[in-house]
């Protein structure tokens, strides 16, 4: 299954799986997911902790290979660690981490930090390198004097701008943004989000925006997908996703968000109460992973995992309630 058919896909993920072996047992972080991101699109991947959303991002940037499935980038299979990827591929896919403080080496100046990708990916040296570094800080809107500073000497938002600059320096076509604003204050988060939008538009980039913040996704991305216990539950164009959420988990999430005005309250499905805890990905529930918390749980949900189905153009749901009308008549479990 793929999303919008008219555009060319820059990234296609199918049946992607990733397992980790822990002392407590096998942890299934990603349990077979499919999605595709179009050229020039901002794609939002939403989930709570333990949903496996960051693992998906890590596999795309090549932190490790998957345990099955496929990642196609511009039609070419890239499912392997970065060390085994071509130089051009490494240049094209960049990433920005959650914690700007931890992703900048405290022993290097901003100039040194920004020089690394330019040297590695664009083979720049000497004055060409210097010029490119200066262009980069300029692009993200930081003053040139910052080049000689150490990361500790600048603010959190500014650090994240440096990280964004570092990701942009090699002229990538695709950026994985893993919670890029979560560690920042709201007022600074807005500034960074804005900058990201502006750069995406100017440079024609595609983003995979990974976050737990639904409100941010609502205002930033074109398509939204929701993940829970390593699986995708619902994906739709953002407007559709928020105005017509179908999966009970989506509804529960939306209903849980504390909002600032009555106008926003209207977007919250009121009938779904938040109950229970997220199960451990080591001890996954059988059938649909959400059945332990689902208010509409059927007997079938406990035994059989639902499959993604397209309910309206571009809107996919993985839920028995929306898969088969016959099942709806079946008895509800207590």
């Amino acid at each position: 299954m793929t999303g919008t058919e008219t555009k060319t896909q820059i990234l296609e993920v199918s049946n992607l799986r990733k397992e980790f072996h822990t002392r407590q047992g096998k942890l299934v972080a990603v349990a077979g997911i499919d999605f595709a991101i179009a050229e020039g699109e901002i794609y939002g991947l939403v989930g709570e902790s333990g949903s496996g959303k960051s693992t998906v991002g890590s596999m795309i940037v090549g932190m490790y290979a998957s345990n099955g499935g496929e990642i196609l980038f511009k039609g070419q299979d890239i499912d392997r660690p970065a060390a085994k990827r071509s130089k051009d591929l490494k240049r094209q896919i960049q990433l920005v981490f959650q914690d700007p403080g931890g992703s900048l080496n405290p022993r290097q100046t901003i100039r040194q930090i920004l020089s690394l990708p330019l040297k590695l990916h664009r083979d720049l040296r000497g004055s060409a390198l210097e010029q490119a570094v200066e262009e980069t800080v300029d692009m993200v809107g930081l003053p040139l004097s910052y080049l000689e500073k150490y990361p500790q000497a600048i603010g959190g938002g500014e650090k994240q701008l440096v990280c964004i600059g570092r990701a942009l320096a090699p002229n990538p076509s695709f950026i994985v943004l893993d919670e890029p604003t979560s560690a920042l204050d709201v007022s600074i988060q807005a500034k960074i989000s804005n900058k990201l939008l502006q750069l995406q538009e100017n440079l024609g980039l595609s983003y995979l925006f990974i976050t737990h913040n639904l409100c941010l996704v609502r205002n930033l991305v074109e398509r939204t997908a929701i993940m829970y216990l390593g699986q995708l539950y619902e994906t739709a164009p953002t407007e559709e996703f928020f105005t017509n959420p179908l999966h009970p988990y989506t509804q529960m999430l939306l209903a849980s968000i504390p909002v600032m005005s009555e106008k926003e309250e209207a977007y919250k499905p009121s009938e779904v109460e938040s109950v229970g805890e997220i199960p451990s990905p080591i001890h996954r529930p059988s059938g649909c992973g959400f059945h332990t918390r689902c208010p509409f749980c059927l007997d079938l949900c406990k035994t059989e995992a639902p499959r993604m189905t397209e309910v309206s153009p571009g809107h996919h749901v993985s839920c028995h309630l929306h898969t088969d009308s016959v099942i709806k008549e079946a008895s509800r479990c207590s």
Binding site: K90, E148, K149
Partner: protein, 294 residues
Amino acid sequence: MPDNQNKTVRPRWDKFKRQWHKFSSNRLSLLGLIVVITLIVLAVFAGKIAPYPEHAGLYLDFQSANQAPSLRHIAGTDEYGRDIFSRMLFGLRVSLEIGLLVLAIGVPIGVFLGLVAGYMRNTWVDTSIMRFTDLFMAVPPLVLALVVVAMASPGFFFAAIGIAIAWWPWYTRLTYSLVTSLSNEMYVKYAELSGAKPRHIILKEILPNAVSPIFTKMSLDMGMIIIIASSMSFVGLGVQPPAPSLGSMVSNGIKFLPEFWWIPVFPALFVVLIVLGFNLVGDGLRDVFAIEEL
């Protein structure tokens, strides 16, 4: 936030100035530094400063043996009539040399193995290096050092080798744990993902962040090594007579207690002073770097 548009910013120098300010704002650290510098000067120029430089070696003058401290001999004289203060200065030189030699042998080996094992985590290289390290940590360090020295031959050089053999594993352990935790830092991950060479990652991304703890440990260890080296001289496995060493001066002097107490007491106090100096500096460094890591 007003921007500092000054074009001639020198970040490294600024950082050093900031760290120096923190270090020197602690009076004890400063005192330690003064002690250490004074000791180094005394050791380097022992030949010029010592009132009786010829007393450092074999020298007999039984007429002036066992003299109490006086203006002529500020720390008294020993059983052969040698000026204890002069011998202490030469003993100091030996102590510092041995400390430096141990660190010069032990730290590069230890840090190198720690870096390699830490960077190649969970491979056979890591396992074999760390198992090899365990081998040298299976007995208390002083025991190992004594065995090594006794088997080779007692003296300055083998004392240093013996202590270094017992010492390097601690640097491997420290570096290993630093590298393991630093490897999880996002900036290291970024460099790896960008295809930076292992050399760059180890030398530019990891090592600079591991330097301060290693350096601090070296300063603290200097004192400890001097104690151990003097202990080895004390049991007769260190520097051999007639060359002066603080440890053997103490151990030879014990039999003159309590009448000629100055023979062992001044060298012993001198060891305390040397170790105190290095420890104060080490603690000062630790404070400065701990703050810097915040």
